[in-house]
Amino acid sequence: MLIYALKRGALALLVAFTISLVAFLLLNFATDPASLMAGDEADIADVELIRKQFGFDRPLYVQYFSWLGSVFQGDFGDSLYWRSPVVDLVVRHFPVTLALAGSSILVTILVAIPLGAAAALNPNTLIDRIALSLAVAAQAVPNFWLGVMAIMLLAVTFPIFPVSGAETWWHFVLPAFVLGLSSVPSVMRLTRTGLLEVMASDYIRTARAKGYRGLGLLRRHAMRNALLPVVSILAVQLGEKLGGSLVTESVFAINGLGRLAIESIIGGDVPTVQMLVFIFALTFVLFTFLADLLNAWLDPRIRLG
């Protein structure tokens, strides 16, 4: 188990750093950070001065390794736009986004798993068809449009929820629902197929023969196996919520990491964007890594195999 965990952990870190390298190269090939910082009005001498001052004149690989070196010391550089350490910015914006991501994944779980289970237990009935149609619709709806429509309907026409902001948990209801709905199709489908497969297995027949029925059968026998793959996909979806926060936070004017990302991009703040790409990738690999461990712990076939 320990060796398995170490292997997976090392791979996860390697992935996060490769992505940071790719992001670094893409951002540096795409743009000249010195002239971005100097602005449109600056003359060539000013740009050159900034280039020297911030070390943009060094070869790219030197810049990357110097960035990597400071990252290992916990220093992610200074934001060019807000003129403050990037770490402070991220720490300040992180809790709101975490709350948004957490509450939206809760919405996903509460909608997708019961729906998938209901569909699998009643295959080819009306319930099954409604669940599958809902998945098809949720997959095709543009997330940002759903957010704007939800504001128009449920915050303006019928003022049930606040239009924007993140002051109370009541503010999170609409954004969490909109962001959570985007993960419902994949989680619902996986719950449904997993449970369909499990319900057809021999041990469920045995359990039935021993007199287990209904919820007891589901809870004690069927769900345990059916939900194993769902754990992995929930971790993936939780990681993707960070990316989704760009759109949702922009629609609902929530001041989290997504908003920070958009403002950094538009401000040409390459160090902050670089850091955010790294943080998002790291969070994603961390969640999938934890899901792998959780799966190995839940399922001895992985742990020992």
Binding site: L11, L14, V15, A16, T18, I19, V22, A23, L26, L27, A30, T31, L36, V136, A137, Q139, A140, V141, P142, N143, F144, W145, V148, M149, I151, M152, V156, T193, L196, V236, G239, L242, G243, G244, L246, V247, S250, A261, I262, I265, I266, G268, V270, V273, L276, V277, F280, A281, F284, V285, T288
Partner: protein
């Protein structure tokens, strides 16, 4: 093996008729194909159908009502915040969605299929490298990176297409890799090897033709995803530059006037929803028709 048997069966002329027959009986496929045909026709004929130039402003007639809300037939869908005819913008917006969705999916297809076939066919170290690339692509914050790249390179239709294509290819890779692993063990591949064919001609002549139905299904879904990605980028202000009418950009522009004219947001969003749902239903249909056993 059941999956492969049907694939091999499909090569014959008779089974092609069977395919078409099955497609014509599939309601989702028919609905999807019909909606896509209508939207593509809209996109193609936009210059003929549009009553106005999509950039022509008329500040005296801003935010005009659509015809069902008391507006006139001059502007059936009303006008936007600059007095531009909304129907004309919607029609030309269809062009952007269709072009970006299709082209970006082509780029993603080339990248994903090449990697998937290489990993699946050669196995071993090549496959390890390919799965590592896959892990990286999965963990990549595509919207954030895509937004940054489009903004820093400079927004244009071509840049949006390339960025979306380069960042979305994981599904192509996963599916072609698994399918290649199965095809590579079949007898006709062994036969080609025995005849002394070199590896790349085996891939080209024996492996790829057997992957086409899988690739086609994934391609359909990816067109839908690329269309939504373009709309999201344009909505956030770093996609298709104004005044080109992208449906995502139209929603962003309409958002400022949404309290007075909600349909400025509702119409392009519903058009996006309809197009993507049609594409996904067609993808489901293609999957059911070409490999019915893979439905669940």
């Amino acid at each position: 093996m059941a999956a492969l048997d049907t694939e091999l069966e499909l090569v014959g002329e008779d089974s092609r008729h069977a395919l078409v027959r099955r497609a014509l009986q599939h309601k989702g496929f028919l609905f999807g194909a019909a909606v896509i045909a209508v939207i593509c026709a809209m996109a193609l004929l936009a210059p003929l159908l549009a009553p106005f130039d999509y950039t022509q402003q008329n500040l005296g007639n801003r935010l005009a009502y659509p015809v069902w809300a008391g507006g006139s037939w001059d502007h059936p869908l009303g006008t936007d915040h600059l007095g531009r005819d909304y129907l004309s913008r919607l029609l030309f917006g269809a062009q952007i969605s269709v072009i970006v969705g299709f082209s970006a999916a082509v780029i993603g297809c080339v990248i994903g299929v090449s990697l998937g076939v290489l990993g699946g066919f050669f196995g071993g170290r090549v496959d390890h490298a390919v799965s590592f690339l896959l892990s990286c692509q999965l963990a990549m914050p595509t919207l954030l990176l895509g937004m940054a790249m489009v903004f820093l390179i400079g927004p244009s239709v071509t840049v949006v297409i390339c960025v979306i294509g380069v960042l979305h290819w994981n599904l192509f890779l996963v599916v072609t890799r698994a399918a290649t692993q199965r095809v590579r063990q079949l007898e006709f591949v062994t036969a080609s090897k025995a005849l002394g064919a070199d590896k790349f001609s085996i891939i080209w002549r024996d492996v790829l033709p057997n992957l086409t139905s899988h690739i086609l299904v994934i391609f359909t879904y990816e067109v839908g995803k690329a269309i939504l990605a373009e709309a999201a980028l344009s909505f956030l202000g770093v996609g298709i530059p104004a005044p080109t009418p992208s449906w995502g950009l139209m929603i962003a522009e309409g958002k400022d006037a949404m309290f007075f004219q909600p349909w400025l947001v509702a119409i392009p969003g519903f058009a996006l929803f309809l197009l993507v749902i049609a594409i996904n239903l067609m993808g489901d249909g293609l999957r059911d028709v070409t490999a019915p056993e893979a439905r669940h």
